[in-house]
Symmetry: C2
Subunit: 265 residues, 2 copies
């Protein structure tokens, strides 16, 4: 997963990179099984939709062995360390469910908008890297990006406490319209195991999932260790306070579990 | 728009036919202008989302000249008369807005389910033909079909009075899952002016429109004159009671308005 100069340039221009099938079907399967395990837990970290379906499991790398390994996987860590030019820590870790029929909308937002406002992260020197645990199609609520929308810093936003079960700083309609007229819109789609890396200022959203197919995605939000957050307002399992550099594990750390035929708890 | 035997066979198998660009850009533009005119009206026929944005204008062919012409347009009428094998009347006429940002979901349903239950239409000898007034993309809430789901008649359904502003007989999750595993899912996309014809038992839905692009579609629900409804429970402008066969106008009836440069009210 060492990025080429062409990929680095494309990331700088468009704000994202997509790697269909970067993880094997077996690796994705063992992670999907782990996701189902954590969604069954009654923990503060597991948030639910208004319907009761799982929406997000936060910090699953701290209480599930399979997700612990994924949180230090070199195929996710190394490209981010390369782009951020140094060691990284885990700012946030989410297993987002977007359940069949019930998975609700995520409104238009920039992740760094929240990290700056709520957590006082000094610079947008942080990044998301996402791994699909299900096939993502046009039907099951894919992530929608506005390319090039990461280049002007943080836009004004309002704090939406009403639309879904999760509070979010969301952008207004006029700004989204302007950005989309300029940059267009994309919705990367691909098999389970695909990896999507995007700038923490890239404007994105995802529609509800009305299909019968679930759409689970793991998000690692990685931050350069020098750029750690300065305010501890949100729960520790939403905005982590352990700024230790992550040491990547070996590339086969999940394949070993997959061979053993089951997720580790 | 005379259908070939191959098209008729495909309709019987899949439950729908799609004709990208069947109407010209100019024809679509004059109709879009007419849609904006009718959405501004304060009439019982114009329904709004919970947000206040227009959702549907019913029976616009009865109070707008441009939509009157579309309601007798040979490019819409003739393929339906061919498939239903005889003269048709207008059972329902809707201009559905699916507004940018605010357009809400239509849950999984069969149109004939409603027509049979609410209106006592004797047979599924009726059909929808839809015309896109905006480009329909993967981003602005396209119609999603489950191919082949029209072949087993009407499925059980529950009357959903809560999800949106419009009451609808909707199918349960287990049935949708079973049908989609068998038939898959499609979401026809194309430019303004595209035409989509589908069986009145074909299971369909559409997700909310979270994009900055509106997605207006006109739906003509045409019924064989012998198969007219027997119960008049719903408003006359939702389920029409004029069973007179529609005489198709000339093919250039809208182009004439487009040349004149504006919609007729």
């Amino acid at each position: 997963m060492r990025l080429s100069q062409e990929q680095i340039d494309r990331f700088d221009t468009e704000g994202y990179l997509f790697f269909p099938g970067a993880f094997s079907t077996d690796e994705a399967r063992v992670l999907k099984q782990a996701a189902e395990d954590v969604y069954r837990l009654e923990r503060d970290e597991v948030w639910r939709e208004k319907s009761g379906a799982a929406r997000t499991a936060f910090a699953a790398h701290t209480y599930n062995e399979t997700f612990r390994r994924l949180g230090a996987h070199p195929r996710l860590l190394e490209p981010v360390m390369q782009l951020l030019d140094g060691p990284v820590y885990m700012h946030q870790y989410k297993v987002n469910a977007k359940a069949a029929f019930d998975g609700d909308v995520w409104q238009w937002h920039q992740d760094y908008g929240t990290w700056a406002r709520d957590d006082l992260m000094p610079e947008p020197r942080a990044m998301n890297i996402a791994l699909f645990l299900d096939e993502v199609t046009e039907f099951n609520g894919p992530l929608m990006f506005i390319p090039k929308s990461h280049r002007e810093g943080v836009y004004e936003a309002g704090h939406d406490l009403a639309t879904t079960s999760y509070p979010l700083w969301t952008l207004d309609k006029a700004k989204i319209t302007e950005l989309a007229e300029r940059g267009g819109m994309v919705a990367p789609k691909g098999p389970a195991g695909s990896v999507l890396l995007f700038h923490c200022n890239l404007v994105h959203a995802s529609p509800p999932n009305i299909s019968p197919w679930s759409r689970t995605i793991v998000y690692l939000s990685l931050c350069h260790v020098e750029n750690h957050i300065r305010r501890f307002k949100r729960a520790e399992w939403i905005a982590h306070r352990d700024f230790t550099p992550i040491e990547p594990l070996s590339d086969d750390c999940l394949a070993a579990l997959a061979r053993a035929g089951q997720a580790a708890e």
